[in-house]
Every structure is written in C-alpha cells, then in structure tokens.
C-alpha cells in the first residue's frame, strides 16, 4: 500500500528519472535478445532486425508500462492541462471575452452570496439560537399587534410557564454619560440578571451580572465592546472604575465581546433590580428559550392561557394577548423577500453567462473539429476528448472565478453603502441590526464551487456536441464538413433563445421595481420633507435628585430649549414632537372616546395615534391646517385642555359634522374632556406605502414627555448648523446631550432601504443580463453570417438587394430574440408574483412595463445584429462564391 503510493509519487515527480530507468531496462533486454540471436548463428544486422521485430511497438510497450505504473491518469491530466493553457493563450480574444463574461456572472453571485450569508446564514451569538423566541404582547382591539409587556407580566410569565428554559427581559433606552468632556447620549440596554447565562456570553474583561445583583440597587454597568474601544481606548483596567450615568454613579464590572453587537449594538448594559422590574412598563422586550422537545405552537398555546389568567387577575391587562415569533425569523422578515428575489436574479445572470460562454466554446469547437477528428483517428478515446473540453472550460471558469472574486470584493465595498445597518421590524416600532457585510472564507469557497459548476455546464455542451461528428467526413479534403455540422447551429440558437428569455424576465423585474420605487418616492408623506433636520433629547429623570422628575419641569425645559434654538441664525422654524413621522422611533397609540357621540357597545374601543407637539410643529413640517387653529403658548396646564385632529380622524369619526368644538376623552388620570380646536392634513407616519392613521395631537405643555425630537427647518447644511443648535441647548443645560441627529432625508432613506436595495441591484443585474444577451445575439448572428457567406454570395449574384440581405440577418436575430421574449413573458407572468411584496401601487403584471421591455429588447437585439448585418451587406459575391 505504502510502497504503491511511493512508487506513484516517484513516477509523478521524478518522471525523467523513471522514464530513463525504463529505457535502460528495455535496452538491456534488447541487447540480450540480440546476443541470443547472434549466438544462434545470425549475423549482427539480422539479429538486430529480428530482435527489433520481436520487440514490437516500443512506444506502445512504454505506454503500457506507464499505465501499469498507475500514474497514467494524472500524467495525462497534466498533459491535458498544459495543452489547454496553450490553446487558451493562442486565442486571447476568445479567452478574454469568456473570462470577462464568467467574471461578471460569478462575481455578481459571490457578492449577493455575501449579503445573503451575512443576513440569512450567520448564526446569532446566542447559544441554541434556534429555540429562542421573541415574546410580544398584543392588543388587537387597540390595534397593537406587537408591543412590549410590563415587568409584572414578565414576572408572571416566568413563574407560571413551563415551556421555557429561561425568560429574559430587556429594555432599550438611552442614557446620558457626563463627567468627561462633552456629555454623550449612549445607547443602553437594561437587562435581567440572567443575561450572561441566557446568551452564553463570555465577557472579554470582568464578569456579567449575577443573581444577587438584582437584590438591591447596585448600579453595575457592562461596557459594549465598540464603546470600550472608542471611549476607553481598550484600556484593560476599566473593571472597577466608576462612571456617571443619568446623573448617578455606576461601577464598571466587565466588557462584552464584539459578537454581541450583532444582536444588541448597545454601548452600556445595566441590570434591573427586583423593585424596578415590578414597576417597569416601558419599551420592554422578552426573549425566551423553549425547552428541548417543545414546539413553538405548544409554547404559544400555553402562553395564551397564562395571558388570560393574568387578564383575569389584573384587570388592567384585559384584552392583552401574547405573540411568539422565532428570533431568527424576526430578523429575516423584512429582508427575506428582497434577498430571495436577488438570489434568483443573480442566478439568472449566471445562467446567461454560462450560455454565452457555451456559445463561444461551441463556435470555437466547430473550427477545431478537424483536430478532434485527427485525434480520434489516432486512437484517442471519446472520454479523453470530453475530458479535454472539460479541462479547458474548468480553466476558463477558474480564471473567471478569480476575476469574479475581485469584482465581488470591490462591489461588496460598494454594497456596504447601500445595505442598511439596521432594518425595521415589521409591525413593531423596533429595529434589528444587520451584521457587517464583507468577503468571508465561505464566499471564496462558494466562488470556487460555482466556478467548477459552471465549468462543468458549459464544458459538457460543446463536448457532447462534437462527439457526434463524422470522423471520416471531417478528415476528407474540402473542409465543408468544418462549417456545417449537425446540431451546432441549433444548439447555439436555442442557447440564445434561453438567454433572451432570462434577460426578459430580469428586465421586467427591474422595470417593475423602478416603477414602484419611483411611485413610492412620488407619494407625498403629508409634510414637506426637504430641509428638515432632526435630533433627539432625553432629559435624564431617573436619579432621585434629578431636576427633571416633575413633568411640568420637563415641558418648561423643552420650551427653553426651543427658545434658544429659534434664535439661531439660519433656522427658519423649529418645534418639538415626541415622535417624528417615518422615523420608527417609537409608537404611541391610545383609546379615545368622543364625548358628544353615543357611548360605544361594551368591549368596543376606538383608538388613534397620539402625538405631543409644540405650537410651531405644523408650520415647521409644513403640514397644512384645514380648519380651526394651531396650538399657542396659552395651551398649558393652567388652561382648558385642547387637541388637534388630522383629516383621517375627521373623515373617520366626523364624516358629516364639524369636529371643531367637539370633545374627546382619553384614558388619563385627570380625565378632563379635551376640546378639538383644529384639523390638519394627514401624515403617513409608518411608511410611504402605509395609509395615514387617525391622529390626535396634544400640546406639549399639556402632555409633557421626557424624550422629544427637535425638528428644525433650515436651508443650511446640517454640519454647519448643528454646533450652533447644540450650543443653544447647552446654554440652558450644560450637561444635556443630543443624539440621533438625522436629516429627514436620512430618515426617509432608512425606511425605503429594502426597496432601494432591491431596485438598485435588480437594475444592475438586468443591465448585465441585457448586455450579455446582446453579446450572445451578436455572436450567433455574426456566426450565421460567416457560415452562410456562400449562400449570401449566391443570393447577391442572383439579384438580391443589400436591404434583402440585411433583412435576412436582422430578421434572424430578431426572430431568436422574439421567441426568447415570448418564453420570457410567460415565465415573467408566473415569476413576478414573487416581487409583489416589494411593489408599491404597481401590479406584478403591469402591461405598460411588459410592453416597454419588449420594445427595449427588440431594439437591443436589432442593435446587436447591426454589425453582422452590415458585414453581410458588404459581402462581395465574387469573393464569396470563390472562397470555400
């Protein structure tokens, strides 16, 4: 066994020595044979001749010995590879075009694979992530499909449920870090102390929370890895140091690993203590790990029962149910449809590339038929010839794959600009972060795999084609057998038809996306989104001695901020609102009752979006006032309560009455009836493709908030005006940070990120597909012309005009494209349904798009046939008839 291996190795790597030995051995035998003949009486010459005769075919003998050596396969493989390289080098034009085409196809696939890998295939940094679910509460009568539960809910669930290994509660928030330089607003996470165990986290430094930490108010903080690098310069002695958060003293107990940011990109993590947990009622989230052996349905069923029990024992939770969604699918909901479409599209592009290269190889192989015939006549096996083609095609595709990898690397950098770093979670005012996208080892493996696969596909097609040729016919002089051959033309034409069909489908898809995206952006959101800058301010009210504990004080402070900002030169108008449209920052909906209307049947509720605003809000946002008045400074806590409604509300609930002067009641401690004093235009709050919801606006002085968003209308660029705004804020409170600085354009860009990505990429792929299909049509038509030169010469000699000739050529090309378009149209009608979730106000079978794309493809195929047609027209019949 081992000896066998050694012998083979030696035969491979020390070929010359081994061949020399074989020569020596055989010569030795020959000499002895000659001697034997001489001894038996023959003269030397005769003896030599006899011996040589007896030896037979020396080369064949050597060949058989080589085969017996067992390295035959590898030796011939090496031979074939060297030969293929020579062949490829000798036709640089063909090689370049083939490699480029493959690079485009393979590169595009690798780039999309990267995106898909990062978003769909990356494992989450939680142990046993497949069993983790997100648990939301819901209240369908209120119109809330996914909201956070209360802390008490969490405690009840933890106590009563049997389906989970563990339940974990967290709250997103921000905090103010002061004490060193500029006050900073950091992204924070408050967690239950089972944090470390639930995720299986190993901290980079220090420790995570322990159970005992929940017993009292310990103020321990964990640093996020990026924050630790940025703020503390990766100092390894941070554990034990203090920091000031929200005006309180915290102790740093550890640093989290970098992978954790894929789930929660928080700068700081602090823990709930048991008291806080009972009172918690904010933006809470719950994750649970289902016990091994239980299913999601079982857990969901149990939780519904528990929810009912809770509603019975705590009437405040009446109407609240429970929703369980697997964590992995939550991350994917938003992106999956777009990604699947892209994967399909990019697969089409690859198929088109393969078809093109197969066409190229077929064209070339027809010329090489003579060579094949000679080799077959000399004894080459058919398998060996097929192997030759496969080796050539594999080499081409490896080269193409290498070039494609470079392309993918470059385009991945480009993609990073367009792929959002966080994507909204549908139906929950929340975001999920996306891991960064970069070339990974998996991507390279994918590239290699795809290269070999494509090499196989387009290597086998010409390989099998050529085996059907007639050896004898080809070896005869005349060479006509070279040009015309069985099936060559038909295969190439069918490949082009398939390409055209695929390209048609892709261009239709892109056309639909372009249409949809354009319409999306044309939709007015209800306000003027240009020249708006937003930023958020959260008043730190947690500390017991905080001056912002009183709601009145909060409202007054925001007024003072506003006064300072309005004085900044360059600001046209400014206002505060608790939630800015399209930002997905938060959700605020509530019940209301219209005083003047008859009472609703029991169990029925009306709900609307609530918004708290300062008086200048509508003017700043340029939301039109339809009736009544806007708020003034007089609408404060010492004056009657007022509200403004929007047109959706008016249309819904006051269809034939004047709402001005009516009163609404909202569930609120003081329960005064609030008078409607104005009606404003509706705003699309949740997205361009969402209907505006009925909204009630409250004056901020009558409904204060701890966190508000400043909206300013200014013609100056954000970077210029921002420092002045910050200074205005700091002149009121030196320690108040601002965060989430975004222009309205950035906010809009974030909300359409999936559609925009799909639109861009689909556009690029459609363009590639079109270009490749055009090249394919050009190739086939051009070959047709050279094949039928003789025939065209005859026709011209017989009186055909050049217009007839060009019609012949153009007609052929357009016919191919036309058949392809027909097939493509049928496929498109079936496939574009998959796009419909991404399309806005465009039907997936929009006739206008289909017709325009058909016209486009016809024009492109005409253009592709133009050069060959011109060549055909210029054929001199005399030369054509003579040459053959």
């Amino acid at each position: 066994m081992f000896r066998d291996f050694l012998i083979r190795l030696r035969a491979l790597f020390r070929r010359n020595v081994v061949e020399g030995e074989l020569d020596d051995e055989l010569r030795f035998h020959f000499e002895h044979q000659v001697e034997k003949f001489v001894h038996s009486g023959l003269p030397l010459q005769e003896a030599r001749r006899r011996a040589r005769l007896q030896f037979g075919g020396l080369d064949q003998l050597k060949e058989e010995c080589r085969e017996a050596r067992g390295t035959h396969f590898l030796e011939t493989l090496a031979q074939d590879i060297r030969y293929s390289l020579r062949v490829l080098r000798k036709s640089p034009g063909f090689t370049a075009v083939a490699v480029l085409t493959l690079a485009l196809g393979i590169g595009a696939n690798t780039a999309i694979f990267n995106v898909a890998h990062a978003t769909l295939l990356q494992p989450l940094p939680i142990k046993q992530a497949s069993r983790v679910v997100v648990i939301w509460a819901n209240n369908l009568t209120h119109g809330w499909s996914r909201i956070g539960p209360t802390g008490q809910d969490y405690l009840d669930w933890k106590e009563q449920s049997k389906s989970f290994d563990d339940l974990f509660l967290f709250e997103h928030g921000t905090g103010t870090v002061t004490g060193s330089g500029e006050p900073e607003q950091v992204a924070g996470l408050r967690v239950t102390t089972n944090f470390g165990d639930f995720f299986g986290i190993k901290p980079v430094l220090g420790r995570t929370f322990r159970m005992e930490d929940a017993a009292g108010r310990h103020n321990f903080a964990l640093l996020g890895n990026a924050y630790w690098r940025r703020h503390f310069n990766s100092d390894s002695s941070v554990v034990g140091r203090g920091m000031t958060l929200n005006g309180e003293q915290y102790t740093i107990i550890g640093v989290l690993p970098a992978e954790f940011a894929a789930l929660f990109p928080s700068d700081l993590v602090v823990s709930f203590d048991n008291d806080w947990l009972k009172r918690a009622n904010g933006d809470l989230g719950v994750l649970g790990r289902i016990k091994r052996g239980a299913t999601l349905q079982q857990a969901a069923g149990e939780m519904s029962v528990i929810a009912e029990r809770i509603a019975n024992s705590r009437p405040a939770r009446k109407g609240f149910g429970v929703v369980l969604v697997s964590l992995e699918s939550v991350r994917l909901e938003y992106l999956r449809p777009a990604l699947l479409v892209l994967l399909g599209a990019v697969g089409f592009v690859l198929l088109i590339s393969c078809a093109n290269v197969a066409n190229l190889m077929l064209a070339r192989s027809l010329v090489r038929r003579r060579e094949m015939a000679i080799r077959m006549a000399l004894g080459a096996g058919r398998l060996r010839l097929i192997r030759q083609f496969l080796i050539e095609s594999t080499l081409l595709s490896i080269l193409g794959g290498a070039a494609g990898s470079l392309l993918a690397l470059w385009s991945t950098e480009l993609l990073k600009v367009f792929v959002p770093s966080r994507i909204p979670v549908p139906n929950a005012a929340d975001y999920v972060t996306l891991p960064g996208i970069h070339m990974t080892g998996a991507a390279f493996a994918f590239t290699i795999g795809i290269s070999l696969f494509t090499g196989l596909i387009f290597g086998l097609i010409p390989g099998f084609q050529n085996l059907r040729c007639n050896v004898n016919g080809l070896l005869k002089e005349g060479g006509r057998g070279l040009r015309t051959g069985p099936g060559g033309h038909r295969t190439r034409s069918s490949l082009v038809v398939v390409e055209s069909a695929l390209a048609f489908v892709l261009v239709i898809g892109a056309g639909l996306m372009i249409n949809s995206f354009w319409r999306l952006l044309q939709t007015s959101p209800g306000f003027r989104p240009d020249h708006l800058l937003t930023l958020r301010i959260k008043l730190p009210a947690d500390a017991k001695d905080s001056k912002y504990r009183e709601p009145r004080q909060q409202a007054v402070t925001f007024q003072r901020f506003l006064a300072g900002v309005e004085a900044v030169p360059g600001i046209q108008s400014a206002a505060f609102a608790d939630i800015v449209p399209l930002s997905q920052d938060d959700m605020d909906r509530g019940y209301f009752v219209i005083e003047e209307n008859p009472p609703l049947p029991p169990g029925e509720h009306l709900s609307a979006d609530y918004r708290d605003i300062t008086p200048n809000y509508f003017a700043t946002m340029k939301i039109p006032l339809a009736a009544g008045r806007t708020f003034t400074q007089q609408d404060d806590l010492d004056h009657p309560r007022v509200v403004i409604i929007d047109e959706s509300f008016a249309r819904h609930f006051f269809p034939d009455q004047d709402p001005i002067g009516k009163h609404v009641n909202v569930p609120d401690a003081a329960r005064p009836a609030r008078e409607i004093v104005g009606v404003v235009g509706s705003v699309r709050d949740a997205g361009f493709d969402q209907q505006p919801q009925p909204t009630i606006y409250f004056p901020s002085l009558q409904s204060p908030d701890q966190t508000m968003t400043l909206v300013v209308r200014t013609a100056m660029p954000p970077s210029t005006i921002l420092p002045a705004i910050k200074n205005a804020i700091w002149s009121v409170d030196r320690n108040q940070p601002v965060f989430a600085v975004r222009s309205m354009e950035e906010i809009i860009s974030g909300i359409v990120s999936a559609q925009r990505l799909a639109f861009l990429l689909l556009g690029v792929f459609a363009f590639l597909a079109l270009a490749l299909a055009a090249i394919g049509i050009y190739g086939v038509t051009s070959y047709l012309v050279s094949e039928r030169t003789h025939e065209i010469g005859v026709r011209s000699a017989l009186g055909a005009q050049s217009s007839d000739v060009s019609r012949l050529v153009l007609g052929h090309g357009v016919k191919l494209a036309g058949i392809g378009m027909l097939g493509g149209a049928i496929a498109a009608l079936a496939l574009t349904r998959l796009l419909s979730s991404l399309l806005f106000s465009v039907s997936s079978t929009d006739p206008l798009t289909f017709i325009s794309v058909a016209i486009l493809l016809t024009l492109v195929s005409l253009a592709a046939c133009y050069i060959p047609a011109r060549r055909a027209m210029r054929i001199d019949p005399v030369i054509a008839l003579r040459c053959d």
Binding site: M1, R3, D4, I7, R8, E21, L22, D24, E25, L26, F28, H29, E31, H32, Q33, S40, Q54, F55, G56, G57, Q60, L61, E64, C65, E67, A68, R69, G70
Partner: protein
C-alpha cells in the same frame, strides 16, 4: 526454434513470474529466459506482456526492484520477491492447483 508460444492469460503470467523469483532475484531478461527454458520452450513471454506485468507486480508490493550489475557487468534492474509476494505466490499456487484439478476432472468425465 519456435518463436510463437502459447498465449498466457495475465493472471498466469504473474504467477509464473512470482515462482521464478522465488528461486532467486533476477532481471527481466533472465526471468523470461528461465520461463522459456523450464517450460521446455513452450512458453515464450513477450516483452510486451513481461514488463507491464513486472511493473504492476512491483506496484502491488509483491516484488521489489533494485539496480545492480548483471553477469557481464552491465547495469540491470533486478527484481526479488517480498514477504507479501511469497504469501501471494503460495495463495495463487493453491488456486492454480485447484483450478487445474477441476478442469482436468471435467475434461475426463465429459
């Protein structure tokens, strides 16, 4: 002298080579001569079958080769039987005897 001999099937040639080498190491020429002589000049092994067989047997590990000096001091490749080759020889000899006996039986009784 008769140049044509009986055609040997491949497996049988292997057996003959192994047996010849069992008596002592030798080069290819000597092996073919020996088989020719011992079989009363009936079996003539052609180079075309001999050398591929030798290389095959070497790869299989039943014989091993080394370069040495021949009787008239020329460089030649000598083959000798290995331990596993010896075992293989015994096995194949047994097989051959059984085969020969069985064929003889059938020819006799038919």
């Amino acid at each position: 002298m008769p140049q044509q001999g009986v055609d040997l099937p491949q497996g049988t040639l292997d057996l003959l080579i192994l047996r010849t080498l069992a008596l002592g190491s030798n080069h290819g020429w000597a092996i073919s001569e020996r088989i020719h002589q011992v079989s009363s000049k009936v079996l003539q092994v052609q180079q075309g079958s001999l050398y591929p067989a030798l290389h095959r047997l070497e790869r299989r590990g039943w014989i091993k080769a080394r370069w040495g000096a021949s009787e008239n001091n020329r460089r030649a490749k000598f083959y000798e039987l290995t331990k596993s080759g010896r075992k293989q020889l015994e096995a194949e000899q047994g097989e051959w005897k059984k085969l020969a006996a069985a064929v003889a039986q059938v020819l006799e009784t038919a």
